[in-house]
Amino acid sequence: MLHFIIILALAAAFAAIPAFFPWLAFVFTLVLAKGFAALGVAILLRAGLISIGHALFYAVGAYTVGFLSSRAGVNLLIPQLVAAAVVSGLFGLVIGLFMVRYRGIFFAMLNLAVSMVGYTLLSKLYTLTGGTDGLSIATPRVLGMTVGREAFEAILLYGGLGLAFVVGIVVHRYLKSPMGEALPAVESNEIRLEYLGIAVPRVLLFAYVGSAVLAGIGGAIHALIVGHITPDLAYWTTSGQLVLVAVLGGIGGVAGPFIGATFLESVRAAAVIYAPDAWNIIIGAGLLVVIFFLPRGLHGLIERITRKGERP
C-alpha cells in the first residue's frame, strides 16, 4: 500500500513538473517512451537474460507509426499505437521462437546481431524506409478530432502517463503470476523448472513477446513526439541505453524503468544546457553509484522505504 502511494506521488510529480517547466514536456514524453521499452528489457532481465537488441522492437514500433503516417495515410493516434504494439509483438514472436533457446552471452549477442540486421535493412531499403533520411510523422487525429501540435503533445504526455499506469498494473500482475514468478526461477534453476513439468521455452517466449510489445509501444511514442524517425532507433547504442535505463531504475518493480528513464533523460537534458561535454561522465558516475550503493537500482530506494514502513 505504502509502495503504491509512493508511486502515485512520483506520478503526480511527473505530471505536475512540465506544467511549471513547459520545455520538459517533450523530455518527459521521451521518458515514457524509453520507460516502456526499458520495462520490456527489465522483464527479460528478471530471467537473467540481457537483450542488447531491443532497440529493434523500439524501431519496429516507431516505423509502424512512420509507415502508417507517411505511406498509408493512416493519421489516427489510437490505431497507430495499437498497430505498433501488434506488429512489434509479431516480430517478437518470430524472433523469440529462435531466441528462447539461448542463454547468457549467446542470448545477448544474438539479439544484438538480429537488431543490427534490422538497422541495416532500415538504412538500405531506401524506397521503403527512407534510408538514413528516415520518415516524417504528421500530427495524427485523436479520437476523430484534429488537434493542434501543442494540444497533441499534451495528450501524448498525459495519455502516455495514463497508459504507463495501466500497463504497469498489467505487467505487475503478470510478474506476480505463476508465469511471471517463473522468470527468476529460469535464472536460478532451469533444470528444476523442467522437472516440475514446465516448458521453459514457453515461459520465455511469452516474456519475450511481451517485452517486444512494450518496446514497440515505446518506439511509437518516440516517433509521435519527435515527428521524425531514422534507423538510429535500431542501433545498438539505443539497445544499450535501454539496458542502462533498466539497470539504473531497477528491475524490482514496474516503476523502476520509468524512474531510470526519468533520471537518464533529465540528466541528458540538463547536460545539453549546462555541461554539453560532460553528460556521459555524469551518467557513468550515476551508474557507478547505483551499482555500488543501490544494487536494486533507484527503485531499490522505494523498496527500502516501504520495508521500513511495514515493520511493526
Binding site: V170, R173, Y174, K176, S177, P178, M179, G180, E181, A182, P184, A185, E187, S188, N189, I191, R192, L193, E194, Y195, L196, G197, I198, A199, R202, F206
Partner: protein, 248 residues
C-alpha cells in the same frame, strides 16, 4: 503378475570411458518401495537421470506402463507422473521456501496464468501442507538459499511431492539430514507415500533405513544391477556385503 510400472531394458550410457550404465535391466513394480544401494560412482544417480530423460541412453529402452519414454524430455516424463528429488537439492534460490513450493503446486494445477497471483489461497494451502509433511512448516518465509543442507534436502523432496507423482525417485533423501531427524522424516514420507499409493525408488547409504523402509533392494556396481531381492536376503548376501556394503 501385472506389468511393471517402470521397465528398463539393456540401457547403456558412457561418459568418456566411464560406463555409468552398462546394460541395466530393472523393473519397478507399482506400489513398492525399492531401495537402490551401491558405491559412489556406480551409476545410481545416472539411473535416475536416465529414467527421467535428463540423460539419453546410447542403447536400450525405458518404458512407463508399457509406454516408451526412452527419448522423452524431463518435462514430458514429469507430466506422465514421475517426479524426482535430487542428490544435490535443486531449489529456486531467489524465492522463499513457500514460493518454491507454490511454484511446484502451481506447476501441477494451472500454471499458465498470467494475470492471477501465484499465491492463490488454494495453492498457498497446498504448499503449506507439503512443508508440514516434510517438517519445514516454520521455515516458510525463509529464503531458500539461507537454509542448511538438511532443510534444503527436505524442500527439494517437498517440490517433488507437490507434483503428486505416481512414481517418486529419491536420490539419497536423508543425506545431509541430521541423524536423529532421518527416521522421523522417513516415517512421515513413507506414510504419505503409502496413503497416496505412490511407488518410490530411493537411493540410500544407510542400511538401517533400507532394512526399515524398503520392500526390495537392488544393488548397483559399476553401472549394473548385481543383486536384487528382499532386504533380508540381499543384505546378508556375502558378495554384497564384501563388494558393496563393506565399501559404503
Amino acid at each position: 503378475m501385472s506389468a511393471p510400472l517402470l521397465s528398463v531394458r539393456g540401457v547403456r550410457v558412457a561418459f568418456g570411458g566411464v560406463k555409468a550404465a552398462d546394460g541395466v535391466d530393472l523393473d519397478v513394480n507399482a506400489g513398492e518401495f525399492l531401495a537402490i544401494i551401491g558405491p559412489n560412482g556406480s551409476g545410481k544417480t545416472t539411473f535416475i537421470n536416465l529414467a527421467t530423460g535428463y540423460v539419453k541412453p546410447q542403447a536400450g529402452t525405458i518404458r512407463l506402463e508399457g509406454r516408451d519414454i526412452t527419448s522423452a524430455r524431463p518435462r514430458d516424463v514429469t507430466k506422465l507422473g514421475i517426479a524426482r528429488a535430487f542428490q544435490i537439492p535443486q531449489l529456486f534460490t531467489e524465492h522463499t521456501v513457500l514460493e518454491n513450493l507454490m511454484l511446484a503446486v502451481a506447476a501441477n494445477q494451472g500454471f499458465w496464468r498470467w494475470q492471477s497471483p501465484l499465491g492463490s489461497p488454494a495453492v498457498r494451502e497446498a504448499a503449506m501442507d507439503l512443508l508440514t509433511t516434510v517438517g519445514l512448516a516454520d521455515m516458510v518465509g525463509a529464503s531458500s538459499n539461507a537454509l542448511n543442507e538438511g532443510a534444503r534436502k527436505l524442500t527439494d523432496i517437498a517440490l517433488a511431492l507437490a507434483l503428486k507423482p505416481r512414481l517418486l525417485l529419491l536420490d539419497e533423501p536423508t543425506a545431509g539430514v541430521s541423524t536423529d531427524e532421518k527416521f522421523p522424516l522417513m516415517d512421515r514420507l513413507a506414510a504419505v507415500l503409502r496413503e497416496r499409493g505412490v511407488t518410490a525408488v530411493f537411493v540410500e547409504h544407510d542400511m538401517d533405513l533400507v532394512r526399515r523402509y524398503a520392500d526390495r533392494v537392488v544393488v548397483w556396481n559399476q553401472g549394473r544391477v548385481v543383486a536384487d531381492g528382499a532386504p533380508d536376503a540381499v543384505l546378508t548376501d556375502p558378495a554384497v556385503l564384501r563388494d558393496v556394503v563393506g565399501v559404503l
